[in-house]
Symmetry: C2
Subunit: 213 residues, 2 copies
DNA sequence: TAGATTGTTAATCGATTAACAATC
DNA sequence: TAGATTGTTAATCGATTAACAATC
């Protein structure tokens, strides 16, 4: 098994795509697949698939035959979901917060939602799934007691900078960030996934106007 | 001005980031900035900023001085938002649909939401912003009459494949796709922004477990 | 066996970074 | 003028693709 810290980000980003597509294939009763067939279905090259797979020890591909879908799924599952579900808090119970909470509460992604915080009296006390929204004032105490590992930020840009540095002090190791503020810059030691929906939409517009595919 | 269809995707994806950060600087009263200062703030190299800027004709940077923020903003605005707001429909009025509708209705992104569709009687008739949710049955007729250019897909995977090919037939030229189904593969001539939230969350998990920054 | 497909090395491609003359 | 910074070319880096021996 290679050192996982040598796996490049582009490869990591493709893993969930492989994983989910293979699960779909299994669901449809398929048992084996070659890199070539997988490549036409996923729109990537067969070469890339084999390269990617070889970052992670034995995929047990057989020459002339292909890969056993079960085996691939098992290995990807180990890489992506192994161990305890990651204790996670959601900050901001507005529209986006509510929408993305589904992804955190779903077993399939490997996370466990343990608290939701909001600053509005309107939201405090309401339920999101089986969690009661708490006031943001209780954040610090909660973190010290419960040691969440990941914070999902669904707050306005104005509050996100201070909030995120507070959270890093409190031991948060990863962010799934929906605020406009770009968290990659200030915290090089923390793992960050920035999801800038506005930016994604704007670049779609550019490509449309300039017929750039 | 260079041919815009020669601008690479990585560059296009960075444009909104430049644009929004420059607007913030202007708001704070700043008038000029050098590529070096901008680079430290955005966490990219100064070289890259100058390269990116030079993809688009005259940015009027002055040696020894830097760039005029006003000028940069104006040029980026022309690239990203020029012309009519793009007529756009939203399909799926669930949690995600409601949350992302905000981005479509905001002037700042260059789109105009002209209709929302859902298949559930529960949602039909309700308001999203100032739009009334219509039944999905009326989709075909609406598109023929109103020629929307972009569709935002917030539907379950099961319905997204057929739906998207129907929409392409009806003249849709771009997708902002939140369904799990990956639209990049089947429609090479259509501009697609896939936002796979589950995948983004899973790759965060991988990086956390493997201390891969 | 012959055909297919892997695992892996080498070649290519493209994006990022460095360097520096021009010049404000 | 001297210092700073651009615009742009060249060098580097890294990711993708091609190729092919090994072998099922």
């Amino acid at each position: 098994m290679q050192q996982s810290n040598k796996i490049s980000l582009p490869v990591i980003k493709r893993l969930p795509k492989y994983y989910r597509y293979l699960k779909l294939l299994k669901q449809n009763g398929k048992e084996r697949i070659s890199s070539r067939e997988l490549s036409t279905r996923l729109g990537v090259t067969a070469s890339q698939i084999r390269q990617d797979f070889n970052c992670f020890g034995e995929m047990h591909g057989r020459q002339g035959v292909g890969y056993q879908i079960d085996v691939l799924i098992e290995i990807l599952e180990k890489l992506l979901l192994n161990g305890e579900r990651i204790p996670t808090i959601l900050i901001g119970a507005g529209h986006i917060g509510k929408a993305v909470s589904r992804f955190i509460t779903t077993d399939a992604n490997g996370y466990k939602l343990i608290a939701v915080f909001d600053s509005s009296e309107n939201e405090v006390g309401k339920q999101i799934g089986d969690i009661t929204v708490q006031h943001i004032e209780t954040l610090e105490r909660f973190c010290k007691e419960n040691k969440p590992q990941v914070a999902v930020l669904c707050v306005p840009r104005t509050s996100s900078k201070e909030l995120s540095s507070k959270l890093v002090e409190l031991g948060i190791q990863g962010f799934w960030n929906f605020s406009h503020y770009d968290l990659s810059v200030p915290y090089p030691n923390v793992v960050v996934e920035n999801v800038h929906l506005g930016d994604s939409l704007m670049s779609l517009g550019f490509r449309l106007r300039n017929e750039n595919n």
